[in-house]
Amino acid sequence: MTARPDQDGDQQLRLLGDAWDKAAEHWRDGPARQFGTAQLTPLLQESRCYLEALRKLMDLLETAERETDG
């Protein structure tokens, strides 16, 4: 059974967060903080916002299919 796209997206978001945590253990200078604050954090926030909207849409599509069957 194929996972829903929003669930796969969540999984990818977790993997990226893990990669950042791992990188942040060794990359701790000013540019690292700047990268985290100015680039990565907005990316993660926008990703969460998109995936939440996608989850809502996928829920609605599933309900629409179910409610109009038969």
């Binding site: 796209p5 929003d6 796969d8 997206g9 990818q12 978001l13 993997l15 990226l16 990669a19 950042w20 791992k22 990188a23 253990e25 060794h26 990359w27 540019p31 990268f35 680039q39 990565l40 990316l43 926008e46 990703s47 916002c49 998109y50 909207a53 996608l54 809502k56 849409l57 996928m58 609605l60 599509l61 629409a64 299919e65 409610e67 109009t68």
Partner: protein, 150 residues
């Protein structure tokens, strides 16, 4: 050696993770759009089937009413089954129409968020990847400069 270059290795790992993330989320977005298109097509097909059933039911009900009008008063024709079928199909069709509107409304709301995310994947993420490549190159160049002459 691992300790010395651990930051560079970690940055390369992060860069690779960003590339994988961009490709994977593009796929996620495409599958979301596919699912939306599939559901819209499915609802349209159900509506089309129901419209055909409704037309048939209305014709049968109308024919029954004609028979009832001409029937012997002692042997009345019961058309209530046809009436119920017409009513049922009509309600189901209306339900589908309501769902189609809800899906369109939700998809319209979603498109703004999806557009921003698509822009992020197409523009911002590649810039972040390039930035990391530059940082990695800079660190590697500094290490080469500092490396002891054999």
């Amino acid at each position: 050696m691992t300790g010395i270059h651990a930051d560079i290795d970690a940055l390369k790992g992060l860069h690779d993770a960003l590339v994988r993330y961009r490709n994977a989320q593009r796929d996620v977005a495409a599958r979301g759009e596919d699912q939306l298109a599939a559901t819209r097509a499915s609802l349209a097909a159900k509506a089309s089937r129901l419209r055909a059933q409704l037309e048939l039911g209305q014709a049968e009900y109308s024919a029954c009413q004609d028979r009832a009008a001409q029937a012997d008063p002692d042997e009345p024709v019961d058309c209530s089954g046809y009436a119920r079928a017409v009513q049922q199909h009509s309600e189901q069709l209306e339900q589908i129409r309501v769902w189609q509107q809800r899906v369109d409304a939700e998809a319209g709301e979603f498109s703004g968020t999806a557009g921003r995310f698509a822009g992020l994947l197409e523009n911002d993420l590649p810039r972040m990847e390039e930035h990391l490549v530059a940082v990695i190159a800079s660190l590697e160049a500094a290490r080469r400069v500092r490396a002891p002459v054999p």
